[in-house]
């Protein structure tokens, strides 16, 4: 109970502080929650497409406006239990076992920079780039064994964002980005990874040793982000959003991820 009052106190004070400022805000902090729908197919493990959805989407972003542009830091995580086929019961060693759904998680850190390149009436266009470090992590459960599927990458992408000021207190943003170079880590073709077994205490270093650099088209990541903003006050916006994301990588064999996120959140300007 004490924690709830403390949280409420902090939130109210945050609103009070951000509302009290009278200079043009240079900073934005946004928090979004949402519904996440996932489809994935990793041919290293299975030819089947895993599908599932959950309210397991969260994103926190910080924007800092400077004279010539806008820096953005963003972290987002989504997770869903997914299934591809009937979850059969099968006889174990002396007892019946039930197949379990496979958990798919996606964690993405992003730093981006955007600069306005065109502006006319209620429309503006910004261009820049973004660096992402993301990890798709899958716990794939068939029978007695769990396999850890993954696609981990660092990417550099040009990005474009458009903004329409629809009215005094409503606006629409659309942003997109495509990686042009990336460093990608994936399981081996047959999963059997003797080197990883021998280095199981240092997976992080081992994965990096076995990653590979890719140029344009090596890693496909299409991101389309739509945000509709409604100003609740000069310092606070309400936002609803939709994100489409498609990832494809073909080494050693194809993995494809399709993500649809429907989000809602608040932007605090200070």
């Amino acid at each position: 109970m004490l924690k709830k009052y403390l949280l409420l106190f902090l939130i109210l004070n945050f609103f009070r502080i951000v509302s009290a400022q009278d200079h043009p805000p240079k900073n934005e902090l946004s928090v979004d929650l949402g519904l996440h729908f996932s489809r994935s197919q990793d041919l290293v493990y299975s030819p089947m497409i895993y599908k599932g959805g959950s309210p397991g989407f969260i994103r926190v972003a910080y924007d800092r406006k400077i004279k010539n542009g806008n820096h953005k830091l963003k972290i987002h995580y989504d997770q869903a239990n997914t299934e591809s086929t009937d979850l059969i019961s099968f006889p174990g060693f002396g007892e019946s076992s039930m197949r379990e759904a496979s958990t798919m998680g996606f964690l993405d850190f992003e730093y981006g920079y955007l600069r306005e390149v065109y502006s006319k009436e209620n429309f503006s266009l910004e261009a820049g780039g973004r660096l992402n470090a993301f990890a798709h992590l899958a716990e794939i459960v068939f029978g007695f064994n769990d396999d850890d599927g993954f696609l981990i990458a660092y990417t550099l992408s040009p990005q474009v964002k458009t903004n329409w000021q629809l009215s005094e207190n409503r606006s629409l943003e659309i942003a997109t980005a495509f990686p042009i170079t990336s460093f990608v880590m994936r399981p081996l073709y047959s999963i059997v990874d003797n080197g990883q077994i021998q280095n199981e205490d240092s997976d992080f270093g081992y994965f990096h040793e076995n990653g590979s650099f890719k140029g344009p088209g090596g890693l496909t990541r299409i991101q389309l982000e739509f945000g509709y903003f409604m100003a609740l006050s000069p310092k606070v916006d309400f936002k609803v959003g939709y994100e489409f994301q498609y990832l494809k990588y073909k080494d050693p064999i194809q993995i494809a991820l399709l993500k649809n996120n429907i989000t809602a959140g608040l932007n605090f300007k200070f």
Partner: protein, 340 residues
Amino acid sequence: MNINKLMILIGIVIIPLAGCDDLFFEEEPNNDAVGNFESLWQTFDEKYAVFEQRGVDWDLQYEAFRPLLTENSSNEELYSAISGMLSSLDDGHVSLMAPGRAIYSSKEIFRTQEGADLFDLWMLLDEYLNNNYERIADQVFYGMHSNNIGYIFINHLSDPIDIDVILNDLSGAQAIVIDLRHNNGGDFTNGEEVAARFCDEHRLAFSGQPKDGPGENDFGDITEYYLEPAGTRFNGPVAVLTSRYTISAGENLTMYLNILPTVTVFGEATAGAMGERIEKEMPNGWIYSITGQVMRASDGISYEGPGLPPDVPFVNRIEDVQNDIDSLFLTAVNHLKNQL
């Protein structure tokens, strides 16, 4: 274009795309008898690593079993065709799991249990340890056979074994029998921890080479596994007992141990399934497992199929076991006594 038209375009183009599997993914195999059969056959064809070692022509298996099925074949017919095809591999790491059925093992003796009764742990513990033994869950049983010979039975390697505690408890032993008969595997690094206590110096134990592409000759780099001395050391003579039911990580442990000059292996050749076992799924949800890697012993030979040969071949007689005599154990003990 005004903003309303743009929003409509987005709605028309993007949202239906988001649910269109054909555009974004490889086509899934059909969930009928033929689709399920083809999916399994194809996965073996591209990812199974030891056709050559097992002398199986997979294309011939396709020709033999695929014609038995149509799209409308029943689950019974599908199960019969697949299990028949898998039996050609006679691989203890290949199995099929389907609802309402016992696990089908490709390895014939695992189905028939032929010779499984040539080892009776409880009889051995009673007759040769006088039921005076320590037990770690269902994994390890150990004690002293006589004043100077210790006995360790390792049932599986799924969990780490505190081998230092065991060796301290057996501190009076001048020689040790490590019984790996019926060891059903687990994590081979747990076996490495055990073997390191008997190791005198850095030694090559075995190597692994995984499949890394769909072609029959697509294999990745060879990784060599070495054994290093570690923990509480035991330098006396060791007898390792193996059977046809010693499999997987149990065989890896056998390979770790039989490179050591103090170790002699007695018994039967092992099950011959050393490569990593990997599980896969069929469109109907059934599960099966394959072998994804070729393992080779320190002599560079793959014993996938025939199994690791013992230094001293010996098979118990069922009459002896029924009369509470484990002749293999006694043979190993006599050997150890002669070493002391």
